[in-house]
Symmetry: C2
Subunit: 391 residues, 2 copies
């Protein structure tokens, strides 16, 4: 018992289970399929160093001074054009934020009262689920098939729960790797416009495509501004810089901006200026191509290793992103197996942590981006044998 009486928003929140697992697996020699980290080779440290040096030489006093909550003006300009070009639709306003996690925090701050309903894919991204729980929202899972949310179930849940928001990761979803097809995206936008709820379209993995053809964003089908697009530079430049953005209707951007005034005043100027130069110098296309080539090879190799698993193990076959989702035979418990895996120096995240209300004890999430081909070979062999022994 602590001497402090904490706010009720923490009643259902004890902290990220993943971040706790990370502490356990931070041992030398561990092969980790647990995180969602970019590979070290994908982090452009030399380029960031050169750019940081240049922008600090040219604009040092401006960058070290207080900035506008609305963002570092050159970055707001380049970012708005970047998002418009990427989404191929009109984007009226954009707000740079301190990683796209902050976009979710500000969106909830702007919209969510305790007890409000939020529809969500199940499983979904743990970090943002914790965010929504801290705003005391009710998370209502929408049923999925192999392509993601099932539209008939989505519409039924909209009618039953009158949600304030739908939270979705439509492209290479975390944790499943699934991508919502174009026709369903259009339906999601239409439903939001018809029933007047906000769609938080969280799309940090969209550039990490190794196969197939790009799918238009939900935002591109939005008529009246009900879809807010959450973007990130964490997967294509650096998560350590903490630069993301939220784009969409100016009324909501304004409310998020007021929330941000008393959250962190503004995102660090130097960090915005570095990303601004990546955009202005058009460095992203080549860098993304290099990153995708390496990640695609790893993903295909991990999928080929999963094909060697005993017959009852099922798994998603993503066309990009960072994750594969696996389902072991019903009677296996991925949490208990993790203890044995860690003894053999292999780690993953049990799928139950991503599920609304837990359950799905036989599932797990595998990341391939942050391991070498050799580590994938060794680690997946261990896991295959471990599963075979326990079936």
């Amino acid at each position: 018992m602590s001497q402090f009486t904490f706010a009720h928003r923490f009643d259902q929140v004890s902290g990220s289970a993943i971040r706790e697992i990370f502490k356990v697996i931070a041992q030398p020699g561990m092969i980790s399929f647990a995180g969602g980290n970019p590979s070290p080779a994908a982090l452009p440290d030399d380029t960031v160093r050169v750019i940081a040096d240049e922008v600090l030489r040219e604009k040092g006093k401006v960058l070290l001074q207080y900035g506008a909550t609305e963002g570092y003006p050159p970055f707001v300009e380049s970012l708005l054009q970047y998002v418009r070009d990427m989404l191929k639709c009109d984007i009226p306003a954009v707000l740079p934020v301190t990683g796209s996690t902050q976009a979710m925090d500000l969106l909830c701050k702007a919209l969510i009262d305790p007890g409000d309903n939020i529809l969500i894919e199940n499983p979904s991204f743990l970090g943002n689920m914790q965010c929504m729980k801290l705003y005391q929202a009710n998370l209502i899972p929408v049923e999925s098939d192999e392509d993601g949310m099932i539209i008939t179930d989505l519409e039924a849940k909209i009618k039953a729960y009158h949600p304030k928001m739908l939270y979705t990761i439509p492209t290479f979803q975390n944790p499943t790797g699934k991508t919502l097809p174009e026709d369903r995206r259009q339906k999601v936008a239409e439903l939001a416009n018809a029933y007047h709820f906000v769609v938080a379209e969280d799309d940090p993995y969209r550039d990490l495509r190794y196969d197939g053809t790009p799918v238009p964003s939900i935002k591109s089908f939005d008529r009246d501004g009900w879809v807010m697009f959450l973007g990130s530079f964490s997967k294509i430049i650096s998560p350590g810089l903490r630069v993301g953005y939220i784009a969409g209707h100016p009324d909501l951007i304004r409310k998020c901006t007021v929330g941000k005034q008393s959250t962190d005043v503004h995102t660090a100027n130097l960090n915005q200026a570095v990303v601004d130069q990546f955009i202005r110098r058009n460095l992203l296309p080549d860098h993304i191509q290099t990153v995708c080539a390496a990640y695609g090879e790893k993903m295909k190799f991990m999928l080929s290793k999963l094909a060697e698993f005993p017959g009852d193990v099922r798994y998603t076959k993503p066309q990009g992103g960072l994750f594969i989702w696996a389902e072991l035979p019903e009677h296996l418990n991925a949490k208990s197996l993790l203890d044995k895996a860690i003894e053999r120096k292999v780690a993953y995240v049990p799928g139950t942590h991503f599920c609304v209300g837990g359950g799905h004890e036989n599932t797990l999430r595998l990341n391939f981006s942050n391991s070498t081909m050799e580590q994938i070979e060794t680690g997946m062999n261990f896991l295959r044998d471990l599963v075979a022994e326990n079936i």
Copy 2:
């Protein structure tokens, strides 16, 4: 009317009035006593550039990767020692945050339910008042005299309102410049320990002392961990880097850490690494001395100019910080006068914006750090004449 239904936490919050004033006064030739910005000369851009280059060379991959919510490990180590040395007392835990504004956001997230009472100096810092309002706290003003909070009124308010928190800026307060004397600080800590409420001791200006002798922190009188110390590098290195910290009881630090997981995951590693090097290379004492010499001269000059104002104008005489608080004769309205001042290219912030529930229309806040001596001369002459004309 917006198409969106915003959360009730925004019912009483429309955005920072100061940030709106900043937009109006962003004109060439404006002499601004309005902000709280460091002077450009006080921003160590060359040093930051050299350090950024070095840390990115040595640790680039680590800095660009995801970091721990608990902070960049070398910085957590140097920061803890720095805070212990500065406060000369045992500090069990520290959390680096994205500017000390985030410390306040996380502390409210950890502790404040809607309707909770928070005691506060009146006037106080607008940004953190907005933060507390967004957590739907009731702000209860404590009476002050020329030395800050009056302890008998503080105790009476504690008994009447059973506060969850006391928010105080004890040193060179924003907006008044007042410094709470040692005996009152000790009493504040004793009351917190007796009545079990959290003191948020916000102390960003403590190093900016131009006169008199340093006063021990409230935290240094804390017995059981009820005082949380909020620190900032914004005034002594750079606000644009967004690096601050919260120090105190590990239970509360832990709860703030869980809140931070879904607020911005972690403070940008590069920014933490830069401040870490300022501490490790012991660059702060000399830099602070240089900054204080320049600011002290400006403050004394502004005070000497205020002495030329018509007799009924009263003002605080701070020993440091960034602000002087002035009271015009009762019948004058500092908001109406601001329009005329802006026509003459001089700006300040009307004091009413800092007051709980408004009022105090005859007050204003003057900043001296971000103006040259010539600007102080010219601007204060204008203001003196303006007041004289309107008395």
